[in-house]
Assembly symmetry: C2
Homo-oligomer: 314 residues x 2
């Protein structure tokens, strides 16, 4: 094992937890976290980046431990004000969280690159590890249901993932370029970790950019995914429901198969031990361990095992 | 006296109080409140209209009685969030107040006229009297000090009115057109009331639009100002300080002289009774009464006296 550069691809809550663990083990110059921006959206004139915020708040030790998203010690008085006007309240805008949206929106409007804005917000919260938006350009996850096409947040928050999903698109991904620092980090990575985030909603938008997918596929570094599915259930969010609706096997094997092209190894939970052979049959190395992170220590333990599995010293 | 149409010109706290009194006496179809927008500004990407909000909140019975501006039962958690980022905290953004800024900003950005936005916000708070921004076009009050030129809010809030004022400009007023409803209301007004707002900062920007000033000057309706200066002091805000710095007499006479061209009558406080003759010497009718509004009843009482003085039945 040698001191090495690690890239982590992450979406929301589960991804943020493993990213937190990795950040406790690796210094900022050796870990780059690349975050899904497919569920970014405009709301009340604000540019909201749910996954960026979840990862940033988690690394800043400010995340709400009960929900995984949003800030701890949050209040909802702006939303009460919006409600008094009969304005839209389906998206939970916390008061302190709003400060993030206000500053990000203003800086983006002033023309600062998304990347710079992300770094600046992190710096001001004392987060030293780079958390990069996957692209400067908009990629928007769109959920196609039997009845209509839904921007991701409407499907996810407003309709609580209730409609049956027929397909998922990543609008803009075809032409969006990954950020320059994203490309540089992936190119120089000695290990690429796919955090346990929703494969279809968090990882897929990142891989939907053809150039980035090509670079990752071509990388000879260990490429390790941690299963977000344990015992047929998503630890958080609608992954299991959507995988079922799209005809995928709701198991680590289903995830591994979906990401096969860009992986070299796969981490699954003890509870899914019986799937280990199916994983290796896909041509992937497999590690069976405890993947459920119920504490900060658990995050660090899993991160250490994943790094070991990838042959990277912490 | 006959049932008549009344126009009230208003700025911030003092003006809002008299507007409130008038609104208790006149139905919505007989009272139009025209509000200064010279101190509107952009902050954290939000379009903030301090005087519009003060008048709206006051008429909605939502204003903070301690300050006159902002909302009662307000909290400041967004500002705490902005402070955590080291962001700008000099402007007091209340949490519930932010809902107003968010909705107004979004609607303006979507292309709705300012006028429509103002009406819509009022409607949703149950305010039925029309509160019109003086213009759809930006007019920006700029304070010239010995050292620099300051956007109004920076002078007023950030620097707490401390720099000595050399001059005040109303950028954009030369070319800004008053709103169509503003012109119609003034043209059909049977009385025009200049509420007790800062003459240089609240009334002057309205009059700085040449066409509106002309229409008001040409109106044969009674045009009555209520003095914002009592006993050499402003009841609220920096009027006395700025009048002194600009070489004006800090008295009802100083105010009356400044507005002389557009007035036919003037209301001054009992405490300034000695100035009555100087007012009539300016060719204005004078009413001496209690002008200090310390309660909702006081607002209504003064409004009734002003309407009587203007020969308008309530």
């Amino acid at each position: 094992m040698t001191a090495a550069n690690v890239v982590a691809l992450a979406g929301g809550v589960g991804g943020a937890k493993l990213a937190y663990g990795l950040a406790q083990l690796l210094p900022p110059e050796r870990l780059t976290i690349i975050v899904n921006t497919g569920d970014d959206f405009e709301h009340l004139g604000l540019h909201i980046s749910p996954d960026m915020d979840t990862v940033m708040y988690t690394l800043a030790n400010l995340a709400n431990p009960a929900t995984g998203w949003g800030l701890k010690d949050e209040s909802w008085n702006v939303l009460a004000g919006v409600a008094r006007y009969g304005g839209p309240t389906w998206f939970q805008l916390g008061d302190r969280d709003l400060a993030t949206h206000l500053l990000r929106s203003q800086w983006l409007r002033e023309g600062y690159p998304y990347n710079w804005v992300a770094r600046e917000l992190c710096r001001r919260l004392g987060v030293r590890h780079p958390i990069l938006p996957m692209s400067e350009e908009p990629v928007r996850t769109v959920v196609e249901t039997a009845r209509e096409e839904l921007p991701f947040q409407e499907y996810f928050v407003k309709l609580r993932c209730e409609p049956v999903v027929k397909a998922i698109r990543y609008d803009g991904a075809d032409t969006a370029q990954p950020g320059r620092e994203v490309i540089a980090a992936v190119r120089s990575a000695d290990a690429i970790i796919f955090c346990p985030s929703n494969p279809l909603l968090s990882i897929a938008p990142i891989l939907a950019m053809p150039s980035l997918r090509r670079i990752i596929a071509a990388s000879r570094a260990p490429k390790i995914a941690v299963s977000p599915i344990v015992k047929g259930e998503a630890l958080k969010g609608p992954a299991a429901k959507i995988m079922t609706e799209l005809g995928m096997e709701v198991s680590p094997v289903g995830v591994a198969r979906y990401l096969r092209e860009v992986l070299s190894g796969f981490v699954l939970d003890h509870l899914d031990e019986t799937h280990q052979d199916a994983i290796t049959d896909l041509g992937l190395r497999a590690l069976v361990t405890g993947t459920i992170m119920t504490s900060n220590e658990g995050r660090v333990t899993l991160a250490r095992e994943v790094l070991d599995f990838a042959g990277v010293s912490a």
